[in-house]
């Protein structure tokens, strides 16, 4: 095995065998799925029936008007506001809600009183019931027949088609791109810092001088960078597979509805196709279906390919810089002054990407998708959003490759001098001098 191969093997092996890595890799998907499941339990799938006391100052409503809901039973309350509140307060055992309809309700104002906080879904359901009621009042007042109203209110289903590609979309794929951008951003940071720590560890333990008498400093640096890249890819791969399996299990077994939402964020193809069927059969929630269809039809192969490319490209670019920083200091606490110029472009690119999800053709993101320090994070948002030309991607990729070759060379020079320099506080001026050493 070549020397660099040996180094990669050690760097990779020693990290994936660490308990912390195994725990993080296995628990990561559990945490993500657990988080969604928890969110579902807390916020969405609150199916207990709840009693609503209806206090009507207008005498226009009665509990029958609200009887369409399965989640609530309505009961007309006789009394005033004070006694309503008193009644709700007294019953501390069962969750109880008071709905106060006043003369102002027709103008859009109503009050809800509760003794136990309502879940988000319950509250919005109740509000939509009150809204329907108010609409009926207004229709009556304006002498509009309900049939007429139904005719007027159109639920548009717009499909936008790109004439160049023939693709149609509703506009969520940029969100998928952002998801990838988020993962790339996180991984560059996590594994870049891991490279830096590794360099500092070698330097402080003084193994580095023994190492560089056997291998060239460049081999040592690149071996570490590649080894850790493999650690990152391993972790990503395990996460994708485990999350997919877990989500499939949880969503099919426990709460089918909840995981429609989870899929939008979690994004696993298989999951979506499974979820698609029941939703389409029932014919409900067409908008949701379109979104799911679009996620399903997103250019996954292209996106995944680009993800791997931009993850590796961005990581290689930043990891060499992190390695240079690690070589220049004696401990992690001294890294701050050199970290700032590295982290600012990364964070900047991330923020702009986040803002560009709904405007993937915007000027800022276009520029950032060319600049190699930000392109790994920015380009996928554009590609997923669909507003790009293939040559733009090629330019961005070529610039990224050229830049990481350049930064790796510069970083290697700093690294070579830095790893053998102890007990001295390094300034930027010195770093530039090191670039000239043989």
């Amino acid at each position: 095995m070549s020397k660099i191969g040996l180094i990669i093997k050690r760097e990779y092996g020693s990290r994936v065998r660490k308990k912390s890595f195994i725990i993080m890799t296995l628990l990561g998907p559990l945490l993500i799925v657990g988080f969604y499941a928890l969110a579902g339990i807390v916020g969405l799938s609150d199916s207990t029936e709840m009693k609503v006391l209806l206090l009507d100052d207008t005498y226009l409503a009665n509990s029958k008007d609200f009887s369409e809901s399965a989640d609530f039973t309505f009961e007309t309350f006789n009394g005033n506001l004070d006694s309503l509140q008193e009644t709700i307060k007294k019953d501390s055992e069962t969750p109880l809600v008071g709905l106060h309809i006043t003369t102002q309700t027709i103008n859009g104002d109503a009050n809800i009183y509760y003794n136990k906080p309502l879940s988000v879904s319950k509250e919005s359901e109740l509000i939509s019931l009150v809204t329907q009621f108010t609409q009926k009042l207004r229709l009556k007042k304006a002498e509009i027949e309900p049939e007429q109203y139904e005719y007027i209110s159109v639920d548009m289903r717009v499909i936008s088609v790109d004439v160049n590609t023939g693709d149609s979309k509703v506009g969520v794929t940029a969100g998928i791109g952002f998801m990838f951008a988020l993962v790339i951003y996180m991984f560059i940071f996590m594994y870049g810092v891991m490279v830096m720590r590794g360099v500092i560890e070698e330097k402080t333990s003084r193994i580095v001088e023994i190492m560089v008498s056997s291998v060239r400093p460049f081999q040592l640096m690149m071996g570490k960078i590649f080894g850790i890249a493999l650690v990152g890819l391993t972790q990503f791969f395990v996460w994708v597979v485990l999350s997919g399996i877990l989500m499939a299990v949880v969503s099919s077994a426990v709460m089918p509805d909840v995981f429609d939402a989870a899929n939008v964020a979690g994004g696993s193809e298989q999951m979506i196709s499974e979820q698609l069927k029941p939703a389409m059969e029932t014919g409900q929630n067409e908008r949701m279906n379109e979104i799911l269809m679009e996620i399903f039809n997103a250019p996954w192969a292209l996106l995944l390919g680009l993800f791997v490319f931009y993850f590796l490209g961005g990581y290689l670019l930043y990891a060499s810089l992190f390695a240079a920083v690690g070589s220049a200091v004696d401990s992690e606490t001294e890294t701050q002054q050199f970290m700032l110029p590295i982290t600012i472009p990364l964070i900047f690119g991330f923020i702009v990407s986040m803002m560009s999800v709904f405007n993937p053709g915007g000027e800022a993101i276009v520029w950032l998708s060319y600049i190699p320090l930000t392109s790994p994070v920015a380009m996928l948002v554009r590609v997923a959003g669909g507003d790009y030309a293939w040559w733009e991607v090629v330019i961005s990729m070529v610039t990224l490759v050229l830049t990481f070759i350049l930064t790796t060379k510069l970083a290697a020079k700093i690294y070579k001098t830095g790893i053998l320099m102890y007990g001295k506080k390094i300034t930027y001026k010195e770093l530039f001098k090191w670039l000239r050493y043989k």
């Binding site: 001088e209 008498s213 060239r216 400093p217 001295k424 010195e430």
Partner: protein, 331 residues
């Protein structure tokens, strides 16, 4: 000397850092199968030279030859280097780490394992094989490092302070191994401040001070050059008679009373005086018991040579003061 084959030869090596010159035209010649002492005060440039030989850094001027060939990447495997600043991966197991380092030096895994086990037995550290490095004491780690340095049987061994951190028993063990390695054909370059061990095992030395070599040659020649015609003379008789016996030919440096009328006098003969003449002069006055030449120790020679060099350079001695720790000096 000219037709002798030098296994390692550096000529006119210059290494400049931003603030100072670490090596200013240093040349060394290391004869095959010898132990060569690279000496010098802290910050003299020893480590810089060693790093150049190890191809960790490159020289700005000058050349380094191994077996008459200019230094090339393939020579890395011919050299075993034990740096002064040494360490191991703390979280790795001892055996695993030794195999890894041996593989980096070009050994096969199985071969490395087999030979390592032999060495571990020899050094009586077999039970450490599965331990983590962080569990080892400093001396234990030093032993492991020594083994990893010599395991691949390099032609040239560069040992920077190999004895630091060892107790006298282990120091002796390492010394014996170094001598044995030389006898088996290896050439050893030893950089140390322990003058006692230099005296004991070095065949040749070079002394570097302020980025230049100020003294080179074989141990015996250098000792001869630095001897000052001093003798310890033990005699029975009268001190005054002794002192007056050879007027003007010598200087009485010190004397010590051994017994009632037995003294040991340390004398330095004048340049033109032969020992024979001096002895002929004193024999009539006292009864000689022993005459021993005072051989300068390496310690004396070191201090003497560096001191002289400091004196000579006093006028132009500004850049020396600005020497920083750049280049990772050997404190």
């Amino acid at each position: 000397m000219t037709d002798q084959q030098f296994v390692l030869e550096a000529s006119g090596v210059v290494k400049r850092y931003a603030a100072h010159t670490a090596l200013n035209g240093v040349s060394i010649q290391v004869p095959k199968q010898s132990i060569f002492g690279l000496l010098g005060p802290n910050g003299a440039g020893k480590t810089s030279l060693i790093r150049i030989i190890n191809q960790i850094t490159g020289p700005d001027e000058g050349s380094v030859m191994i077996d008459g060939e200019r230094l090339k990447p393939k020579h890395i495997e011919d050299i075993g280097y034990l740096p002064e600043e040494r360490g191991l991966y703390k979280k790795m197991k001892v055996g695993e780490q030794c195999v890894y380092l041996a593989q980096l030096k070009g050994m096969k895994k199985s071969e490395a394992k087999k030979e390592l086990q032999e060495w571990f037995e020899k050094f009586e550290i077999s039970e450490w094989w599965g331990k983590k490095v962080e569990e080892l004491s400093k001396g234990m780690a030093q032993k492991v490092q020594f083994i990893t340095t010599i395991l691949h049987r390099p032609k040239i061994l560069i040992l920077d302070e190999p004895f630091s951190g060892f107790d006298p028993i282990n120091t002796n063990l390492i010394k014996q191994e170094i001598l044995k390695l030389r006898d088996e054909g290896a050439t050893i370059m030893l950089s140390t401040h322990n003058m006692g061990s230099v005296e004991e095992i070095c065949d040749d030395i070079t002394l570097i001070n302020k980025s230049q070599n100020i003294l080179s040659g074989s141990m015996s020649q250098i000792k001869k050059d630095f001897s000052k015609k001093e003798y310890d003379i033990t005699f029975k008789g009268n001190v005054v008679a002794f002192a007056n016996s050879f007027w003007g030919g010598f200087e009485l440096i010190s004397r010590e009373q051994i017994d009632k009328d037995v003294f040991t006098a340390k004398v330095r003969l004048m340049d033109h005086v032969k020992l024979n003449d001096f002895l002929n002069g004193v024999i009539p006055s006292v009864e000689l018991q022993s005459v021993l030449p005072v051989v300068p120790t390496m310690n004396d020679i070191f201090i003497d040579a560096v001191g002289k060099d400091q004196g000579n350079n006093n006028v132009t001695e500004d850049q020396g003061a600005s020497q920083t720790t750049e280049g990772g000096e050997d404190e």
